[in-house]
Symmetry: C2
């Protein structure tokens, strides 16, 4: 059985969407999606709020109730029957996210047992057959086949096979 390493933020969880939702409950600054292209999605927030928004990532609760990426639950549930699925999130940078991320996974992906969850720093320590991730820095050290999961922040990256949504993942893997 082959293994698939799946990232959480911007792949399973709509982290940017959750941040925009939170921001709009407090401020009415304009989100500029074109400024996210080729960099961090934080660059799409008004300059005076970018450091604050980044700080929100470190606070308890932020990762607890993020929206789920469309079709990810159904497709990962099927993948889990045909592959060794590992959810690998570079979460150690955000210590308060660990508990939130576990609860979030338990809410939405209860079919994934604890054995299949990894919270790491550098993903260079992880190996497998396939990796689905939105960040080149995570893919570039991987030993298997790499898929870049598309988002505004990686729109200008070339040289990787892409997954634009979970239906495309289903078509390839199932």
């Amino acid at each position: 059985m082959k293994s698939i390493i799946i990232d959480m933020d911007e792949v399973m969880a709509d982290t940017m969407g959750g941040m925009i939702n939170l921001y709009k409950t407090k401020y009415d600054g304009e989100i500029k999606y074109d400024l996210m292209r080729g960099g961090s999605w934080i660059k799409g927030f008004p300059p005076e709020h970018q450091s604050m928004v980044r700080q929100w990532l470190f606070e308890p609760g932020f990762f607890r109730h993020l929206p789920v990426m469309k079709d990810s639950i159904a497709v990962i549930n099927e993948l889990n029957k045909k592959y060794k699925v590992f959810i690998v999130s570079a979460a150690i940078e955000f210590p308060n996210s660990l508990h939130d991320k576990l609860c979030w996974l338990n809410d939405h992906f209860p079919f994934l047992p604890w054995q299949q969850i990894v919270f790491c720093g550098s993903k260079s320590v992880v190996h497998g057959d396939y990796m689905i991730d939105d960040l080149v820095r995570n893919l570039e050290t991987f030993n298997g086949h790499k898929y870049l999961y598309s988002g505004y922040h990686n729109a200008e990256i070339t040289g990787y096979d892409r997954l634009n949504n979970w239906q495309e993942a289903a078509a390839i893997f199932l």
Copy 2:
């Protein structure tokens, strides 16, 4: 630079020692070290307290103030200059341990940045050049050179290179 995957419990942290200390603050049952041989160290506690002691592993705070294994700080500090060191703990089984373990590492091993820490379920997803672990189930899927770190619970295991203490690790790796 070669990589070394280092386990936490029973390798860097004296988890059994911490449990015995905690137990002795509350009960005066006898700890039978010979009953730990070839199994879980929980078997060394009186039978009527074994399920309670196992439950303590799931409670917030248990992993926060464990004793540190002798010489581990000094030796890992030196290893960290010559190798890519990754601390890999199968901590996801114990959700409340995650925050405690990060704080414990920050207390005693502040020279290890977040990039080098991994909390996982199954360690089969981790690869590298060397692994130091006290559990055969973690070593058996590893692709590199394996060292069993000795403890009462693995005293009867054969077929692995052993590290009996951190001075032996220094002699081999430094």
